[in-house]
């Protein structure tokens, strides 16, 4: 296969774009997709201070590097989950990456905050992935707001977005379907959230990370076994193989035709938000879910000891 751009031997084949690229031209394709996402969705400008959530995986590190190369004002935020034999490795990848590229980094430690994820797994009787995700989102938003960032950027890619949309559609979850998208505007104590990689698949971000020499943390989380999210991605991978381009079409058609209807419905029937009486974060209850989780773990731990 030849590079669509320069006709040299291609190193990356992209069936959904009917294209292939050599190692020199592929990053140009990647940059164009990110630029298009930022421009069309009006995500941010070069004057904005952008906080980038860094897990240590290919997507978040690729996003951070690409935004820096495009001249944006970026700071990384890594949450150390406190999971033995896992979190320390992820943290080291992030710290080494930021040091190598002279990128500013903040690290927030769940253990120092009093709630390492192993405690959540042991004492909370709910799927640990869901609770962990909620805690991470809480701290990403809280730190972005407290430290005056204009926008929070995450490395969610097209596969993440399609898997999430698919899961929300299987449940016809109106609340989630009303606000899923590459941009979530700031409101009610929430900072603006953006996903500049939403036009790129996992395969596409993985190729970019490889070609840019990014050392990634690729070990799966020891607590994520059997997550439905992974199964949904596999299903969509098969569908995409049979009909290249289906993922982007499904997602973009939802944004254009489905989301506005769900947003209208949610405006009529959705719940109002108010500051949590304990931590001040926006919540639909008196005390937010994060403070309730923290209290529940504290009580269960005390009873066990």
């Amino acid at each position: 296969m030849k590079c669509t751009r320069c006709r040299k031997t291609a190193h990356v084949s992209l069936p959904s774009h009917h294209s292939g690229f050599c190692a020199d031209c592929y990053p140009l394709f990647f940059t164009k997709q990110v630029e298009t996402a930022i421009r069309r969705e009006k995500m941010f400008t070069r004057e904005d201070r952008i906080l980038v959530a860094l897990s240590g995986g290919k997507d978040s590190l690729a996003l951070m590097l690409e935004l820096k190369l495009q001249g944006y004002n970026v700071t990384g935020l890594h949450i150390d989950l406190g999971i033995p034999n896992s979190s320390d490795k992820a943290r080291k990848k992030v710290e080494d990456f930021c040091a190598l590229h002279a990128l500013p980094l903040r690290v927030f430690e769940m253990a120092a905050w009093g709630l390492p994820i192993p405690d959540v797994k042991q004492y909370v009787k709910r799927p640990v992935c869901a609770v962990c995700g909620r805690l991470k989102r809480h701290h990403f938003n809280r730190i972005a707001v407290e430290e005056g960032f204009d926008v929070l950027a995450t490395g969610h890619n097209l596969d993440d977005e399609v898997a999430r949309l698919f899961a929300n559609t299987l449940r016809w979850d109106t609340a989630y379907l009303s606000d899923q998208g590459p941009v979530l505007p700031a409101s009610d104590g929430f900072v603006r959230k953006v996903k500049p990689l939403f036009r790129l698949s996992e395969f596409e971000t993985a190729n970019y990370a490889f070609l840019k020499g990014i050392e990634i943390h690729s070990d799966p989380c020891p607590y994520s076994g059997g997550a439905s999210f992974t199964a949904h991605k596999e299903l969509w991978g098969e569908l995409e193989h049979r009909s290249p381009g289906q993922k982007l079409q499904f997602y973009q058609s939802f944004l254009k035709q489905g989301k506005p209807a769900f947003a209208r419905l949610e405006k009529e029937t959705g719940v109002k938000l108010a500051p949590c009486t304990e931590c001040g974060s926006p919540t639909s209850a008196e005390v937010c879910a994060v403070c309730r989780i923290k209290a529940a773990v504290r009580e269960s731990k005390a009873q066990a000891e």
Binding site: S13, F210, P220, K233
Partner: protein
């Protein structure tokens, strides 16, 4: 014989009678956009031919949490 270093599984696999990247992916039950394939640090598209003794990195791309 082709040697495959499979990531993130950390497995080393030997494959016989395998002469293209696509054949390697088929034997591993992977679709071409589900894994990167590299030889000596160079990415390979699935139509590339392989020769006896080639050692490949096959890195699955799906995040598993």
């Amino acid at each position: 014989m082709i040697i495959v270093n499979l990531e993130p599984d950390g497995k080393r696999i030997e494959l016989n009678d395998t002469r293209s990247v696509l054949a390697v992916l088929n034997k591993l039950r992977l679709r071409p956009t589900m894994a990167l394939v590299a030889r000596r640090g160079e990415l390979l598209t699935s139509d590339r031919k392989l020769v006896h003794g080639d050692e490949l990195l096959v890195r699955k791309v799906t995040s598993a949490g």
